[in-house]
């Protein structure tokens, strides 16, 4: 008695079909990454809500202005964009406890320390209607870079790793220790100063 062999299925055409599908997806796909700077806008104040200026101590706020000629004013002096990052870092860390720079508030960070001094500094970004978007994004980028570098330094100091290599809990701790307080102010015309 001879063994019966089941005949093989003819699968040659599947490769062609797969090729066609492949070509289709190659055509329609866009590989561009969506990347950018993420921000949270402040909610609109209610109409009947009184505009009470939040009492933010003068020393806790740095105002970064960009005028219509894309020149930058940080605090009270004009500054070049290349120096902005260091200025902001100094503002946020206040290494010498300068009374003109923001105060620090001991904060309880869960899973880390009960009294880590967290800076109360807020960066307020103001721009003119004539400011170019390129300059605006460049400044935003410098501000984010300052915060990211501080978080990296924090990670290196306490966990021995840069921020990106920390675990999720450690990242949360670093975020709590170095908050990103960038406020995009109500629109007002900065003018050509």
């Amino acid at each position: 008695m001879s063994k019966r062999k089941t005949p093989g299925l003819n699968t040659q055409s599947t490769a062609d079909i797969a090729f066609l599908l492949l070509c289709y997806f190659l055509m329609v796909s866009t590989m561009d990454q969506q990347s950018g700077l993420q921000r949270r806008l402040p909610p609109m104040p209610e109409k009947d809500q009184k505009v009470d200026d939040q009492k933010v101590n003068r020393r806790n706020i740095i105002i970064v202005k960009i005028n219509s000629a894309d020149r930058i004013l940080a605090g009270s002096e004009p500054i070049d964009i290349s120096q902005l990052k260091d200025k902001v870092k100094e503002f946020l860390t206040n290494p010498t406890d300068d009374p003109n720079l923001p105060e620090k508030e001991p904060k309880n960070i869960e899973g880390f320390r009960a009294d880590y001094p967290v800076s109360k500094g807020v960066i307020s970004l103001q721009n003119d209607r004539g400011t170019s978007y390129r300059a605006y994004i460049a400044v935003q980028n410098e501000l984010v870079k300052a915060v990211n570098e501080l978080r990296n330094e924090f990670g290196m100091q306490y966990f021995g790793k840069p921020f990106a290599k920390l675990t999720e809990e450690q990242q949360d701790i670093a975020k709590a220790a170095v908050p990103q307080n960038i406020s995009e102010a109500e629109p007002k015309d900065v003018g050509k100063r």
Binding site: T11, T14, A15, A18, F19, L21, L22, F25, L26, V28, S29, T30, M31, Q33, Q34, S35, G36, L37, Q38, R39, R40, L41, P42, P43, M44, N127, D128, R129, G130, T131, S132, Y133, R134, Y136, I137, A138, Q140, N141, V144, K145, N148, E184, P187
Partner: protein
Amino acid sequence: MATFKRSGKKDMPELGTSSDIVFMFLFFFMVTTQMRQDEVEVSVKLPEASEVAKLERKDLASYINVGPPTLNYQAKFGTDARIQLNDSFKTVDDIRDFIAAERDAMSEADRQFMTVSIKADQDVRMGIVTDIKQELRRCSALKIMYNARKTE
């Protein structure tokens, strides 16, 4: 003398594995692909930034394009920066309806994670961007992203 004797006819060997590789490619593209969106009618050259973060959920993003109209629309709309929502030129006042429509299209649970991605040309003035931001605040679509190209 010994001779090698060929038995039977000469056969092409079968190529059986190539389809698997093609299938793998196919799946790769199917997973990574995102269908090309609507036609762009404004030319957008994104500004550069080094500290960009990736958008995690593309399906939760709505896009607002801002820039000068492309060449074939310039005759009709001029060269001033315009806002494009979906497939047509709109004004700032239309953003409200656009956001409402985008919200409706999402499931209840996802609405709070909606991100509005502002794709603006690097040469537009901030005035139009500020108007958009104010309108978004009014619609309480507060999560936004300024699209930018990554540089080192």
